[in-house]
């Protein structure tokens, strides 16, 4: 990051934060009806000024990019320090300094380039395609990224919509289990024609998660129990419930099994893929994107969404204005639970086709980090989900490529660091010497105990 000279935009032309917030997409210059009074040059200068201002003052997009960069740097240190080859090279640093530096660079760049190849684009498949290989293979990493991103986007939306109403939903994991149990049971327990079966399972999963979320909202509204405590506790209750259900053949366990594993769901209930072999997009991904659009519409275009946002901004003001705060809490937790349940459906019906005790993975905590990185905005959540999906795919790939020398857990560290830096814009500004203290939309997404 270079220091930008002080020839920035003059304060008079300083635009509002919203204009500066989208520097990446300058408006396309319309060549046709250009007004004669405004030459193209001035518009270009204006666009340039907006971009420079966004960079020097640290708009939210710039902060996010810098945060990702900083996280990769810190993660690089972790990779280096735990690499025996590199630490050995550094022990002879004063004799062979270049060797030590080269080893360090090799270690880090190999890990990150493998991660990129696994998650986004592998150059060798491109060159293979030119020599008669499969063109489809080029898109294989991207399609795995989308598949991995699907549940993350949905749990991210679950956490994000609750954030907007001022609630912190740590319980996406428990709601996920609620949805997964219902989807699995409907998946193998009933037989329905294709198409209908898929829809029934999806609705069932939504309801399964929504019930858990509704319970949290109800307790909060009726008894004042803090949702953070209740959701955390419900997560453990749901894990234990899942373990119980999966260890009893009369419940959900696959017959003649000793492991905690459920039967495969019926073929009719599987979410199919669109777009043919390898470069395929699961219907689950489309559901996730549609859910994001629906949440965006709900929040910005409906009365209910307005009430959510008002309650999130200030419950007492909302109450004074006649909004039923308790009703909003219950409703928003119901929706949040339903979204987490849908996330489970996309995993059970889309990629795994059966429920095991480890199915819930880290979708719950990842949902929180995705929602935070996406700044609790639906479109942001989709982008953040894609990024973390790519990191997950890349992490698995790099672990295989380095024969376990770089464990996939590095991804979790990177995710934590990215969100840490994104949520602390003051730190990013200090590190990169950015000037303004303009808000980044990260303020007060979560409320303390005083709510």
């Amino acid at each position: 990051m270079t220091e930008t000279p002080a020839t920035g935009p003059d304060p008079a032309s300083a635009s509002t934060g919203s204009a500066a917030a989208q520097p990446a997409e300058p408006r396309p210059a319309e060549p046709g009806p250009a007004e004669p009074g405004k030459p193209a040059g001035s518009r270009a200068r204006l666009t340039g000024a907006v971009i420079i201002q966004a960079i020097t003052q640290g708009s939210s997009a710039v902060i996010t990019i810098l945060a990702i960069f900083l996280a990769l740097v810190v993660g690089g240190f972790l990779i280096v320090f735990s690499d025996p080859v590199v630490t050995k090279a550094w022990s002879t640093f004063f004799s062979y300094p270049v060797y030590a530096l080269a080893q360090t660079w090799d270690s880090v760049s190999f890990a990150y380039s493998q991660m990129f190849e696994g998650a986004i684009l592998n150059p060798s498949t491109v060159s293979a395609a030119f020599h008669g290989g499969s063109i489809a293979a080029i898109f294989y990493p991207l399609s795995s990224t989308c598949a991995q991103a699907t549940p993350l986007i949905l749990t991210g939306l679950s956490v994000a919509i609750a954030f907007r109403a001022g609630l912190f939903n740590i319980g996406a994991a428990g709601q996920w289990v609620g949805g997964a149990v219902v989807a699995t049971w409907l998946g193998f327990g009933v037989s329905l024609p294709p198409g209908i079966h898929v829809i029934v399972c999806l609705i069932g999963a939504f309801v399964g998660g929504a019930v858990i979320g509704w319970f949290v909202g109800l307790l909060k509204a009726r008894t004042g129990a803090h949702e953070v405590i209740v959701t955390i506790m419900l997560n453990y209750v749901m894990y234990d419930l899942l373990s119980y259900l999966l260890s009893h053949p009369t419940m959900l366990q696959q017959p003649h099994q000793t492991n905690e594993i459920a039967p495969f769901i019926a073929n009719n209930a599987n979410l199919s893929h669109v777009g043919g072999p390898p470069p395929q997009v699961g219907i689950g991904f489309l559901i996730a994107v549609a859910a994001a659009l629906a949440v965006a519409w709900l929040l910005s275009r409906t009365t209910t969404g307005f009430q959510f946002r008002t309650v999130g901004a200030s419950p007492s003001a909302a109450r004074t204005a006649g909004i039923k705060v308790e009703r909003s809490w219950i409703l928003v937790m119901l929706l949040a639970g339903g979204l987490a349940g849908l996330s489970a459906a996309t995993v059970i019906q889309g990629t795994n086709t059966q429920l095991t005790f480890n199915s819930y993975g880290t979708y719950g905590p990842d949902g929180i980090t995705v929602a935070l990185l996406g700044r609790a905005k639906p479109i942001g959540v989709v982008l953040a989900g894609l990024l973390f999906g790519a990191l997950h795919v890349g992490g698995t790939y790099v672990e295989a490529a380095t024969l376990g020398q770089v464990p996939a857990d590095i991804v979790q560290v990177l995710e934590g660091l990215i969100v840490l830096f994104v949520a602390a814009p003051a730190l990013i500004r200090a590190v990169f010497r950015l000037r303004s203290t303009a808000g980044t939309g990260m303020e007060a997404v979560a409320k303390g105990w005083n709510g």
Binding site: R319, P365, P407, Q412, V419, A424, G448
Partner: protein
């Protein structure tokens, strides 16, 4: 705003009273119907001394079902009283404690009816040792939150303390080095929490969750990278138990309180010191002032930021010791995610205990007892599925937070960064 909010929230007080009464009555009915009517026929028997103890106390036998009925009636009576008579603050809390004790005793009677005797001493020892990380974690949270910084990162502090204690103790072959290293590791997470929350004004709940994710990822990574490839870094050495010379010979009390690892004694000291310091010293008065009204505290010359930094880091050190207990204090070797949610339960204990050390102690012991029951009961009474028993502490927390405690009053400035005007 405050008057308006008070007016709007006023109905909750009466609703709360009925809610508590209903919860009492429901617990009483469970005692009678579930534990009493559905119990196996036979006596419940309880041993009160260890096999190798010098002074033996005879085994106590009680008829299981009638005891459950009696305890259920007591809980019902308290419920009816709670609904009709206005209780003082102390009476409210004593009533909650009484109902919980009735519930736990009938649970024990129900589980043990017609089965082999339950050894009360072993259960109590287990309860206390299970509670150590919870108590230390809750005290860490208490130190932070009383000064106005929300600490969700207790989980991360425990986990990092556990990891560091294990790896340092193994690498240097010294248990005390491991204990100190564990404390420092917890303190390091505390430093991160302090810097980001106090200096960079980051949202504290978000920060806590992110630190937990970060520590979990970091310890998983380092475990894969260092420990699983080199067993010398995870040898599993543990502290032995220290018998206090005379006190450990007292029947019942001795083996429970005075025959344990150093961690239990550290926990005693921490509870007493923090309770006294917070409520009976100038230091504590300042901490509470900073947590309730930082502007006022600043006006009289108390350094708000310094007190917050100091308390958050002290809390981190304490939670780090709790984390060290998880490895060098009990099982020895580190496994990924060894803290497995203890930090979150400690947080719940802190809130259930209304941000006081003694309250948190009570709540942590309750959770510890539930965890111990989940371990012991399946061996006594195999009818009970272990996963259902494991749920008990969490269900108990939900009932406690929703039914008995409800809207608690945290320190006024908890979670709000202080910026000098």
């Amino acid at each position: 705003m405050t008057t308006l909010a008070a007016a709007v929230r006023a109905p909750l007080t009466t609703e709360r009273r009925h809610l508590a009464a209903v919860t009492f009555i429901v617990i009483g009915l469970i005692n009678i119907v579930v534990f009493g009517v559905l119990a196996h026929a036979g006596d419940a028997s309880f041993e009160l001394s260890l096999a190798k103890a010098s002074i033996k106390i005879p085994v106590i036998r009680v008829p299981a079902a009638p005891v459950c009925y009696a305890l259920g009636v007591v809980a019902l009576g308290l419920g009816v009283l709670r609904a009709t008579v206005p209780f003082s603050r102390l009476a409210k809390r004593l009533a909650i404690a009484g109902v919980l004790v009735c519930f736990l005793l009938s649970l024990l009677c129900w589980a043990d009816a017609g089965a082999i005797p339950l050894n009360v001493i072993i259960i109590s020892q287990g309860t206390f040792t299970e509670s150590i990380p919870l108590i230390l974690g809750a005290l860490a949270g208490c130190l932070c939150e009383r000064s106005g910084v929300i600490n969700i990162a207790i989980e991360g502090q425990l986990l990092f303390g556990a990891f560091t204690a294990a790896i340092v103790a193994s690498a240097f072959g010294g248990l005390w080095v491991g204990l100190v290293a564990g404390a420092l590791a917890g303190g390091l997470v505390g430093v991160l929490l302090a810097v980001f929350a106090i200096s960079f004004l980051m949202d504290q709940i978000v920060l806590g969750v992110v630190l937990n994710v970060l520590v979990l990822g970091m310890t998983d990574y380092l475990y894969d990278r260092l420990m699983s490839q080199n067993p010398n870094y995870n040898t599993g050495i543990t502290f032995g138990s220290i018998k206090i010379p005379v006190l450990s010979q007292i029947p019942i009390v001795g083996p429970i309180f005075f025959d344990s690892t150093v961690f239990l004694y550290i926990t005693y000291v921490a509870i007493i010191v923090i309770q006294v310091a917070l409520f009976h010293s100038r230091w504590g008065l300042r901490v509470r002032a900073v947590g309730e009204h930082p502007t006022a505290a600043d006006t009289v010359g108390i350094s708000v930021l310094w007190i917050r930094y100091r308390n958050v880091i002290l809390g981190g050190l304490l939670a780090g010791i709790g984390g060290a207990y998880l490895t060098v204090g009990s099982v020895g070797s580190f496994i990924p995610d060894i803290s497995s949610g203890f930090g979150y339960i400690a947080l719940a204990a802190l809130i259930f205990g209304r941000w006081t050390p003694l309250g948190a102690l009570g709540a942590a012991l309750l959770f510890g007892f539930c965890e111990e029951m989940a371990l012991v009961l399946p061996t006594v009474n195999p009818v009970l599925p272990a996963p259902i028993m494991n749920m008990a502490p969490y269900v108990a927390t939900i009932i406690a937070v929703a039914g008995l405690v409800g809207r608690v009053r945290p320190p006024k400035a908890d979670g709000q960064p202080y910026v000098k005007a």
